[in-house]
Amino acid sequence: MLDLPTHTSGLEGVLVMPKSTELRNAMTVLLAVSMLAGPLALGPTVFVHRASAATPFQTLAPQDPSLPTAVGDVGPLPTAIPTLYPGQSFEEADAGRPTVDQTAMEGDLQFGFQRLAENPDLYMVWMTDEARTHYMIVRADSDVLTGGLDPESGFLFLVRERDRVHGEILTTVTNRDTYKSSARDFRWGAVGSLVVAGILAFVAPPAAVVFIGIAGGAFWAGRGQDTNAEIQQNTLEALQRQLVDYQGDLRQGFLIGQAMESTP
């Protein structure tokens, strides 16, 4: 059976389909192969210049260097914000060290800690040894800060205790000095009474005896004040030893924390 030409209503006289099915299939295969083989065979020669293909991609230099940029002037570059992380250590002179805010810190400039304004999950702790003050960044739940299983070894406890001992030392010094001042006033009175007694001894000898008695009383009153001052001095020395212990614990806690935080 012969295939008759197919005529469609819209494309009548324009598209004439082959009559043979074999021929139609052969043309379809030829078209499909040529779509793949054509660009592969002719592409490099026809569409790409070989020398330009070897040249790396680059932008063209402007023909007129004085041409103003379309975007406009570039604004000032923002300052790089350093990233803080737990275990990071600083020395006093380091430029990138977060500043100590004396209104937000606990403790003092020698021993203390403060929450970082840059990252509320982090704290900065610091301690002072014989050489200088050292700083370290720790997490809010760090053992350095909380003490871990032993809360009395953490900065939170030790710094506050150190503050308390500081206050007690100042009070004790004031008490001691008040007693000392009284004792000296009494001795001043004793010396004054002796001077008067010495003068009276060659003007009116009987009256001198009275002033000698006053001088003796003043001297013993001064001794009483000396005793009180010595009691305060003993308390003061005990507090100073306690302060040294707390400061030693703070230094040790800092160094242990530094070693632990730096271990990956």
């Binding site: 020698q110 500081h166 030392i169 100042l170 010094v173 004031t174 000095d177 008040t178 000392k180 001042s181 004792a183 000296r184 006033d185 001795r187 001043w188 004793a190 010396v191 004054g192 002796l194 001077v195 007694a197 010495g198 003068i199 001894a201 060659f202 003007v203 000898p205 001198a208 000698i212 001088a215 001297f219 000396d226």
Partner: protein, 134 residues
């Protein structure tokens, strides 16, 4: 007689200077520890003693009289009290407190040093007078 007068005058002036030094030292110490009222009283008494020494009438009134043995004994005891006060209050390790300079501690050292010097002069003068009497 003139020599005795002159020695008495020197001794009385020295005793006044001792009392003035004592008083001014106490006043400075009181001000340094914040006891303003106590310091003001001590300072006022010291000023009165300075006025007494500068005006000089009391000293002139007494310088004509001869010192007796009881006077010398009492002045010697005053010198010992002075030395005792210096030894009792002198502490070289109190010049700083909590890492800062502690002014009352420094005042104490200066005052005690002055007391030792004045006590030495007083003992010297009393000794000379005692030897001259003997």
């Amino acid at each position: 007689m003139e020599a005795a007068r002159s020695t008495t005058y020197r001794l009385l002036m020295l005793l006044l200077i001792i009392l003035i030094w004592f008083g001014l030292g106490n006043a400075a110490f009181s001000f340094a520890i914040g006891k303003v009222v106590g310091g003001a009283i001590e300072f006022a008494v010291s000023l009165a003693l300075i006025a007494l020494a500068v005006e000089g009438r009391v000293v002139r009134l007494l310088e004509g009289r001869r010192l007796n043995s009881l006077s010398l004994l009492v002045f010697a005891v005053a010198a010992l009290v002075l030395v005792f006060d210096g030894v009792e209050s002198l502490r070289f390790n109190e010049t700083s407190l909590l890492g800062e300079v502690y002014l009352p501690g420094i005042i104490t050292i200066v005052r005690a040093a002055g007391e030792f010097v004045l006590a030495s002069v007083l003992i010297w003068e009393v000794g000379r007078l005692a030897l001259s009497k003997a």
